[in-house]
Subunit: 148 residues, 2 copies
Amino acid sequence: MAPRNRQDLDAGDLAAVLEEFIRSFIRLPSAERHTFTTLSVLHTLAGRGPMRLTALTATEQITQPAVTQLVARLERDGLVERRPDPEDRRAVLVQVTPAGARIVHTRRQDRVDRLARLSETLTPEERHAIGAALPALARMAALMDVER
Amino acid sequence: MAPRNRQDLDAGDLAAVLEEFIRSFIRLPSAERHTFTTLSVLHTLAGRGPMRLTALTATEQITQPAVTQLVARLERDGLVERRPDPEDRRAVLVQVTPAGARIVHTRRQDRVDRLARLSETLTPEERHAIGAALPALARMAALMDVER
DNA sequence: AGAGTCGTATAAGTAATTTATATAAGCAAG
DNA sequence: CTTGCTTATATAAATTACTTATACGACTCT
């Protein structure tokens, strides 16, 4: 951790920190028996609202047939619903059901709880520093989503 | 994004921001054809140094036989090496080869490049805010790793 | 030395994903 | 309006990755 001066933001340092968080987040209990991809799809749908299969293919880094089958499994388990896209009769819109949303919400809450607990061990200055950076981080994250 | 006051760190906001980054990070090109789990193992080994299979089982959320097989694949592809643990003749130590390290490094560099590019679109104040929060975030991430 | 545990491996079955291909709906031009 | 190209999803077959169950050698303790 060695930014050249206090004005500078070292992208390497930021990447390293994010990597650590990612590692820890991904390995959360996830009591439910779902694969990483499954959870990712649920999470994407919960965050973005109804999507076409094609859109999911793009965001999830798996092939289109894999999405079709994954959604079929999720539907079988009552976690998502499919309905025809009124705008294009070839397309299907997938959306989370309340049961699916509940899974996402539980996982999210686990993470929030964990972060809240950890933040209590930080100094007030540290908490303040992170709090002050959140709007900028949020904007950055949003930008990431846009480009590509 | 609504912290109650500037002193407060809202864990929900932090979790939300991290989620966004995670989503974007995970879906990086990853040109190479490796599963998420495979990349995660490589990354863990690169970051932590040689580890036992058992240790990987704990960090990767998969069963022990799955780790054995995964490591066998990685070894076949020349990305990791196994060697006996001098301390315990039952155990095996797994470590990344230069080829494995290169994959990790490339992915990391992609992320750094992307973050660097994005940070140029931020205001100096935003960059400063993030830079100032990095040490605290790093400490928090390190703590996450420890507790369970 | 025997009983119990630990670290890894193997086997067999199942789940998830891939490639290749099909079908049906939209779309553009003539 | 119909022929040909493209888009959105589905299906089939093969492959890859993972799981449960079990085995086996190495440590540990007494």
